[in-house]
């Protein structure tokens, strides 16, 4: 961006620079305890996933992130109900899980659309026009069940500007691709197949050459 465009400082409630500081909190209710299994029905599939996750680690708390991923898949976002269910299975307090959930970018504690388009707007993608593509993507997805978010470096700077569409990396993107992405999502098709990262060959020209001289057959 150039300095000739007037830059507007982003502000939140009461002109504050900090979001959420003025969200209402009840100081009368006692803190929530570990949910009672008798009062917290948990879908069987979700319970099984969380218990499998807990079994993989020496300490069950390590399963917090995998469990929250599973709950977000089931509930669409990490609602109070979703967190209570995970807390019940893991035998921890909802506050503990909320503190974990609010730390990580991939978790949402507020309702969100079904589909996710994470547009990387970090330094390299930005150099290659990501900010413009982000605006184009927002316009194209306006009114659809698609959440378009600007995201930090997704580790695909070789296909900049790029986006992660429901977990699939696509790029390099031009403004016209925004419409195609929306169309593919709505049709349930594989998104922008010809621009997916998974099919991309290594850029290094030397990878196809003679092997390093080590024996091919196992001893």
């Amino acid at each position: 961006m150039s300095a000739t465009r007037r830059f507007v400082v982003p502000r939140f409630g009461h002109g504050s620079r900090v979001p959420g500081w003025d969200e209402a909190v009840s100081l009368d209710k006692p803190p929530a305890e570990i949910p009672d299994p008798a009062l917290t029905p948990v879908p069987e599939q979700l319970r099984a996933e969380i218990e499998a996750a807990m079994a993989r680690y020496p300490d069950r708390h390590s399963a917090a992130i995998p469990a929250l991923h599973a709950a977000q898949r089931v509930h669409g976002y990490l609602s109070h109900e979703a967190i209570a269910q995970v807390a019940c299975v893991m035998r921890v307090t909802p506050a503990y899980l909320t503190s974990v959930a609010t730390f990580y970018d991939m978790f949402s504690t507020t309702p969100k659309p079904t589909h996710d388009v994470f547009v990387c707007t970090n330094i390299t993608c930005s150099l290659r026009g990501a900010d413009r593509f982000f605006e184009a993507m927002r316009r194209a997805a306006d009114g659809e069940d698609i959440a378009v978010r600007s995201f930090e470096c997704l580790g695909a700077c070789d296909i900049a500007p790029m986006a992660s569409v429901d977990g699939t990396y696509v790029g390099p993107l031009s403004d016209e691709d925004a419409e195609q992405i929306v169309a593919d999502i709505k049709a349930g098709r594989s998104v922008l197949e010809h621009k997916q990262l998974r099919y991309r060959r290594c850029a290094d020209p030397g990878v196809g050459q003679e092997p390093t001289g080590l024996k091919e057959q196992p001893k």
């Binding site: 007037r6 400082v9 992130i65 970090n122 390299t124 930090e152 070789d158 992660s164 290594c202 050459q209």
Partner: protein, 434 residues
């Protein structure tokens, strides 16, 4: 010389069948026939330095772990989130068994029985491929009980993150893996003594571990012949930004940086010149066009006031302003600051506000002095290096591009005053901080 990228696009390389046909897991077999101390010796002789960013000698780090019968852990740092870095992605996606074999070798060398791979949550495809490869390796007896009949056993768990740059910092990763918010810890104690769940922990980057099979197969001395003194071996470099052929390139350490940026990646488009470049991810102090001939190795770049870091080269050409690069960088670090310590939490946010002051037309050249002094106060005073990761590039940009930044300040002031005159019915701009 391709070691990690040797025929990496061969179809099916991610499957055990192809990997074994190519000689896979021979390194592990050879390591298991040696004593653990001998394996550590080979790694030390190789001169291999950490490929994740810090460049700490791998053999030395592994030797810090206490000997004896206790719960010890290996953590593979696959949280690759440093802007500009995408090398581990290609290794994990196309040659996952190389990483698994490296992990197996490391667990034997350091006598560890529980290993974890912490992979960033956004790498869904790579995580799925790794999971399938781990299952194959377990079925074949390369992971799990009594590996290759040697008596050594270790478990390998793949853990997916959920989107946080600070979880790439080793102690932030440990807290995150323990199921907490990813806040880094004070060092000392170092993870080798007190790490995951309080036990001795060896943490290594994907590329570092993926290099171990080759090091064991040819021997440490042979590996040390590659590269240059103190920077031995090959490195996968991720080149991106204003270059014609962005991508991952495996190079021998010590070649001129120009050969990587222009020779391999094609340099900036026709008619444009390099304005500045980051040699080691966005956390490295920036270098200028004059520095393009510097050899790409740890010591040369450190002496030049920057660092090799993760080996991610970001090239910015003259169609961009230093201010926009600075703005993007500072926004990123302010967002990713975990909030635990004051200099980073406040320093990143105030630096962002100062950059926004410049963009809003409210700044004067003195703001650059204040910004530079804030960066100095951040460096070395934070709990972890995220604060430094912002302060060092920003400080270097102010030092090396001061006249351009002052021109931007003046241009923004002029356009803001013009707007103020033009829209008379809007409230006047305050000339003090908002």
């Amino acid at each position: 010389m391709k070691i990690l990228f040797d025929r990496i696009d061969e179809p099916g390389l991610n499957t055990l069948a192809v990997y074994e046909r190519r000689g896979g897991y021979q390194g592990l077999r050879k390591a298991l026939a040696l004593a653990p101390e001998q394996v550590l010796e080979e790694i030390s002789k190789s001169g291999l330095r950490g490929r994740g960013g810090a460049g700490f000698p791998t053999g030395r780090k592994a030797s810090f772990l206490p000997k004896g019968n206790m719960s010890k852990y290996l953590v593979c740092n696959a949280d690759e989130s440093e802007p500009g870095t995408f090398k581990d992605r290609e290794i994990m996606q196309k040659n996952p068994h190389l990483l698994i074999e490296g992990i197996a070798i490391a667990t034997w060398a350091a006598q560890i029985n529980r290993a974890f791979i912490y992979i960033r949550g956004e790498y869904g495809l790579q995580a799925d491929i790794l999971e399938a490869a781990i299952a194959e390796a377990e079925r074949a007896g390369y992971v799990g009980e009594n590996v290759c009949g040697s008596g050594h056993s270790f478990s390998l768990v793949l853990h997916r993150g959920a989107g946080a740059y600070i979880c790439g910092e080793e102690t932030g990763l440990l807290d995150s893996l323990e199921g907490k918010r990813g806040n880094p810890r004070l060092k000392p104690p170092f993870p080798a003594i007190e790490g995951l769940y309080g036990g001795p922990t060896l943490i290594n980057n994907v590329e570092t571990l993926a290099t171990l099979p080759y090091v064991i197969r040819v021997g440490g001395e042979q590996y040390a012949k590659l590269g240059v003194p103190n920077s031995s071996g090959t490195k996968v470099v991720s080149v991106s930004g204003d270059v014609r052929r962005p991508g991952n390139y495996e190079i021998e350490l010590g070649i001129p940086s120009r050969e990587i940026i222009y020779g391999l990646a094609g340099g900036p488009p026709e008619g444009r010149e390099v304005k500045l470049w980051f040699p080691g991810g966005s956390s490295a102090p920036v270098l200028r066009r004059e520095d393009l001939d510097l050899p790409y190795d740890f010591d040369t770049l450190a002496k030049a006031g920057s660092m090799l870091g993760s080996g991610a080269i970001i090239v910015v050409d003259d169609s961009h302003t230093v201010l926009e690069v600075m703005h993007k960088l500072v926004k990123f670090y302010a967002h990713e600051s975990c909030g635990k310590c004051v200099p980073c939490r406040e320093g990143t946010r105030w630096t962002l506000r100062m950059v926004e002051r410049i963009l809003s037309g409210l700044a004067t050249p003195m703001d650059l002095e204040i910004m530079a002094s804030v960066q100095d106060e951040i460096i070395g005073n934070c709990l972890c290096v995220l604060g430094d990761a912002m302060a060092m590039p920003v400080g270097s940009m102010i030092a090396k591009f001061r006249s351009e930044l002052e021109a931007e300040i003046e241009a923004a002031r002029a356009s803001a005053e013009f707007e103020q005159l033009r829209s008379a019915d809007e409230p006047p701009l305050a000339l003090t901080a908002p």
